[in-house]
Amino acid sequence: MADSDGEYVEDMSDDDLVGHGVSQTVQSDYGTRSKAGRGAKRAGDGRLKPKSRWEDLRRSWEDVVETADGTLTIGELLEAEKRRRLLRDTTPLQRGIIRHLMLVLDMSFAMSEKDLLPSRYRLMLDYAVDFVREYYEQNPISQMGIVAMQDGIAVRISDISGDPVEHIEKLREWKEQQEPKGNPSLQNALEMCRASLFHAPSHGTREVLIIFGALLSNDPGDIDDTISSLIKDRIRVSVIGLSAQVAICAELCTRTNAGETSRYTIAMHEQHFRELFLAATMPPIARSAEQTRPSLLMMGFPSRMVTSADKMSLCACHHRPTREGYACTRCRTKVCRLPAECPVCSLTLVLSTHLARSYHHLFPLQTWVEVSWADAKSTACFACQAVFPKPPKSKTILLKGKGKQQAGGKPPPVEAKGASESGRYACQTCGSHFCIDCDIYCHQTVHNCPGCQGGSGGGETSGGHTNGVAMEIDS
């Protein structure tokens, strides 16, 4: 009994391997239904066939697995799940770092549905606030604007700008004061976005992200013409649907993204919606023969200066008296916050840290690989010092470890696939072992390998005495 359960876990991780080899998409699936979900997608040959929500009941008791020593655990499955979200292509791709994005929010009657709680409308506006914050954090030198679809027309919520505070204020206002009503009009919204993005400089991206809850669009003309002009203006459109797939959205995304189908996604539940929404904060991969024209930009890097209270002066951007500010490096005009364009000489003013914020997109941290029991010599996570489980003594597991070693060979072109049987994850550069929590934290938040940065192994300065140091202390 116990043995067969163990095998079940094995199967699970193998399946992961296949799944990731095939499609490394941003979407994620959950728990037990993940296999089925992916299967369906593959069968559909690239076409999205999301299941209805009711088909996806999560039965938490099915996740429970009995381990060899008779305890119930879902730990490994959970780890696999966490890892699955983490695994993505880490080859450094050229990305559009300087972005111009229009966010289109559906505010039609369809948004008052309560299939997403508390309602589609409120949830969308809440997530939109998170999106705005995350967007500016990930893309500090980018711009965005927000448009609503309501009553068959497009309504401007906030103008295209680099100031998150303004967007968030407007979104909050809308949430309190407006109700979803009328029909949405994709064409009107797209035309408004096209007009807003018309002046976006050619070195940046031009993107439209549409949150679309309805299944219809109330258009005044032929939307095909609009799509053609979008392509001409090199604007790419992504859509996140909230109810079901709509043919025109699929066509819109495919055509404006040069045949790429993955830009149209359907949210299955609240969490999935949030994930899809926030995934759009990641700078898009730049395509070849590009839409963006690389250029050399002139930028100023002003230093912060503070004057004494009796020498306050007005900032040129908001005309408010401030003590702190940054002087334009070309004309010495005072602006109160960065990044900004100098109101006088229109030099782009940034902090060097704004540029640094995007560097991790350009130099992503390598994915760490699973460690088999055979190699699990470490006692604790290199970063957080959490103690690792000890290698089991039982025969079956030892055999398993051996088999893996023979199959895989020693050199590590190991492919990361899911949960590690030993609970350890290894950086292939420095060889340090980490726990799952640190794996996730380092890849999603810090973008540093503690081992490589901490002079462990790999580095030219210190050959092998990495963890050795720590161990010698106590001997």
Binding site: P302, A383, N467
Partner: protein, 385 residues
Amino acid sequence: MNPLDVVDDSTHYHSRGTVSVPNLLTIIIDTNPRAWAALANVLPLSQAIATIFVYANSHLAFSDDHHVALLASHCNRAVWLYPEPPTPTKPPSEDVEMGDAGSGKPSQPAPSANKFHQFAKLEASVLRSVRSLIDNTTAADVASTTTTQIPGALTLALAFINKMHLAVMGGSGRRGISPPPDTEPAHKNHRRSRIAVRARILIISVSDSSAEQYIPTMNAVFAAAHSEIPIDTLSLRGSPTFLQQASHITRGNFINVLEPRGLLQYLMVGCASAGLTPDPNDNTASGNRARMKLGKQTPVPPQGGDGGDPLFAPRAESVDFRAACFCHGSVIDTGFVCSICLSIFCDIPDGGVCRTCGTKLALGNYGARPAVSAAAKGKEVQAEG
């Protein structure tokens, strides 16, 4: 947000009766041997460490919920001083011992009756670690580099804080059925989560920032800013430009120590304001009030103090945010940036080809813009003068 949740989840933080948020102070000591050699006449390392003990103890003494962690950022590696990494010989215990790890060392001397157990433990552990760190430093190690591993130490500290956060939140993988749909990466959902651990990082810096550590340092700093962890810097020597920026971005304090012999005073007065003083509003774990309120979207200049702290920490008057060009490493205030890889150059590269990524770049007519009329020009000059 039931305050009781916190109590339930943090059984190994002895919160006796009162509900409070664990407060973790992480001290990173820059142990760069060259720099300490230069400081030896004024403040030897041993004395600095003794001073840091006093400071750490004062933090620990404040409450049961106060924890400390110490790291060394050495010339070639970053090392945990306290809690010490578990030994391979010791049977690993099941639970993660966060602030209290390193207990039960067989080699530990008999505890002195005259010293608080926590203090003695900390002291023994740190002294042992530092000694072994120094013993294991070869002349070659010192010769090979002039800098220190601040990014590594910061990353370790952040990972540790993150782990503690997870342990308190109960989101760590070893706990059973906790992950509802909300187990997304801590980084995505933290804004909605309450602050489970109040953490600060204090860096005792003696070295200059080195240009090649810029990206990893900044990665760590952004992560700290994201998790609302202030980084305080006490610069005894050298010019740690990146740490100055770090403190500014994370809203910590940057203090340039003019008189290293007064280290204790700098620590107690300069860095205690936020680290030690209990926040009257935050004791209830209601979490509505994160230590630093909102305003995190961009590194906006702080509005002077955090509002809740009884002491106003000294603020750096001006922060050097000028960039170093990638071609010569010279500091510039106006430069040219490749729109693809964001490399910074001090002049227009030959033929408009980016020297880093090799992309052919379109050039603009820089500075040729506003065609100011003679009349307006005159006015401008007048206004300036």
